[in-house]
């Protein structure tokens, strides 16, 4: 991992995509000239429904898919000019398991280091380092097919880091991973991001993007429909729905001036809050009726709501 402060790449974006397009042999236009910049040190989410173009974009960046047009640069290295140099900066964790299931975990990571030209001694030291960090060292001599889904996912992360890339790309890293494992993986990713590794991830778990990422791009039908910071995106929300758990029994009908309130059951109230409105007014109205609020939560993931709006709006 690298520190930006001392890096000669300090002012260079980690990834620049300009007018990237892809038309598959069957005529399907997966990307329609997208442009994107990911700054160094960023934790960037690429979101989109299935078939939106996320995996095609990632495939082009790491050379598994041939682009039809446009330009991609990784740390200012144009992949058309010097793809091997660009590849040195990239670590990729694909969505599907793509290792030989009969090989041992340690061999998979050591071999990957060898493909990057790392001498066997260094390869083994690095492999041990990342297998330990990801809790897989005890399984190093176990054939990959014997590992659980979560372990296989972590094995791919260890493999992607063994050459210590500056840009780590993860395609749906939480797919098939249980909650506990997902949380520990998030902590690990946050740690390596804090150490200077730029991270791009695609995910279906919007909670994951909200918890980890600083910037987000939403892609749909091969077009970027939003590209901003998570904070800015959430600021665009025009309304939120809160669920209030109340201590006292709620009356059959309840009215709060300026708000749409709906009684769900004896102790649960749903309140729609629009931009510019304040919850204090809700609490004041309830307080006046001797109703105390025990706890409160969002009805739905805020980002999910925004995501659906953007995707439907672009459709």
């Amino acid at each position: 991992m690298f520190s930006n402060a001392a890096s000669p790449f300090a002012m260079i974006p980690a990834l620049t995509i300009e007018n990237l397009s892809k038309v598959y042999d069957n005529g399907f236009e997966a990307l329609k000239g997208i442009s994107l910049t990911v700054e160094q040190g960023d934790f960037f989410a690429l979101l989109g429904p299935n078939g939106a173009g996320k995996s095609t974009t990632i495939g082009i960046i790491c050379s598994l898919v041939a682009k039809s047009g446009g330009k991609v640069s990784v740390f200012d290295v144009d992949i058309d000019q010097d793809f091997p140099a660009a590849k040195r900066h990239i670590g990729i964790v694909p969505q599907e398991f793509n290792f030989n299931q009969f090989e041992k975990a340690l061999d998979i990571v050591v071999n990957q280091a060898g493909y990057y030209g790392l001498a066997p001694k260094i390869a083994r030291t690095r492999a041990e380092k990342y297998l330990r960090e990801l809790g897989l060292w005890d399984q190093r001599d176990v054939p990959a097919r014997m590992l659980s889904g979560g372990m296989k996912r972590r094995l791919m992360i260890a493999r992607s880091l063994v050459h210590e890339p500056r840009l780590l790309i993860l395609d749906e890293p939480s797919a098939g991973v249980d909650i506990e494992m997902r949380r520990s993986m998030w902590e690990f990713l946050k740690r390596i991001n804090a150490q200077g590794t730029t991270i791009i991830l695609t995910t279906h778990y919007l909670e994951e993007a909200e918890a980890l990422c600083r910037h987000i791009a939403i892609i749909n039908h091969g077009v970027i429909v939003e590209n901003t910071s998570i904070k800015m995106l959430l600021r665009q929300l025009s309304r939120e729905v809160f669920i209030l758990d109340c201590v006292e029994d709620l009356p059959e009908t309840i009215e709060i001036d300026g708000f749409i309130a709906r009684r769900v059951d004896d102790h649960t109230l749903e309140v729609e809050v629009h931009k510019g409105q304040h919850l204090n007014q809700v609490f004041a109205t309830l307080g006046a009726q001797q109703i105390h609020v025990n706890s409160m939560r969002n009805r739905a993931n805020r980002l999910e709501e925004m995501f659906v709006n953007l995707v439907e709006g672009a459709a």
Partner: protein, 257 residues
């Protein structure tokens, strides 16, 4: 990547290939030894003793070079075709494609892996043949050169087959319906002198005729075809197979979307 790093990558691919076929030696090394032993017993001892001499040698001595070459051809071919298709099938080939290792290193890693298996099986088969006959090497240079060129040629052919294969059926079609008939009709069991002129001329289109006869020259000192012509044909076929394999890798056909 600099040369040293490319060499490390080459060693890594080669080591992985060798570990693979040694791990499953009962599927990769043992069958050839058993099959060739049966050939020696049936064609060499039982039937061969009634055939008498061929090309001035006992029938057993005559078939041994062809059978060794048959083992080299099938093993170098099947090692690369099964290993590379397997890595395509499991998508583990992506480990190489996303890395900065050059295409020529990827190709050479797989090909040399196939060559080493061909050589290992050749040694095993040769040792087995010593139980049945006495072998006197006429030209070590020719033997070594033909073995290396032939195993390289068929390892490359296996690579091309693997790139085009879409299923495990596709990697057995060529060995079953093309390679095996060419080997059997390549003069392993008979001298071209026995064929009518027309079929002798047709046989000259078969690359295995040159391979088998060049190797037989190296071992016994006799050949149905001219040695320079045989070497020339093997080198030309190898160069074409290498160029086409590189074209497939560089274009990314059937490997990248």
């Amino acid at each position: 990547m600099n040369l040293r790093e490319q060499y490390v990558a080459f060693q890594t691919i080669l080591r992985k290939e060798i570990k693979r076929y040694l791990r499953i030696w009962t599927q990769t090394l043992l069958p050839s030894a058993i099959t060739m032993s049966l050939y020696f017993v049936i064609f060499g001892s039982l039937i061969g003793s009634r055939i008498g001499e061929m090309g001035g040698f006992t029938y057993m001595q005559f078939v041994v070079p062809g059978l060794i070459m048959m083992a080299i051809v099938t093993n170098s071919y099947s090692n690369v075709v099964s290993s590379f298709f397997g890595s395509k099938f499991s998508h583990s080939v992506e480990e190489l494609l996303v890395s900065p290792v050059s295409n020529v290193v990827i190709l050479m890693g797989y090909v040399v892996g196939g060559v080493t298996r061909g050589l290992l099986v050749a040694i095993v088969v040769t040792l087995v043949s010593l139980f049945f006959t006495h072998l006197h090497i006429h030209s070590y240079f020719v033997v070594v050169a033909v073995v290396l060129l032939t195993s390289t040629l068929f390892a490359l052919a296996g690579f091309i087959n693997a790139v085009f294969a879409n299923s495990f059926d596709d990697i057995s079609i060529i060995p079953t319906f093309v390679l095996t008939p060419l080997i059997y009709l390549g003069g392993v069991f008979y001298s071209m002198d026995l064929l009518p002129e027309f079929w002798a001329n047709v046989s000259k289109l078969n690359p295995l005729v040159y391979v088998v006869n060049a190797f037989r020259y190296g071992v016994l000192g006799v050949s149905d075809v001219s040695l320079p012509v045989a070497f020339g044909m093997i080198i030309v076929f190898t160069a074409i197979a290498f160029a086409y394999s590189m074209h497939l890798l560089n274009s990314g056909k059937r490997l990248r979307q």
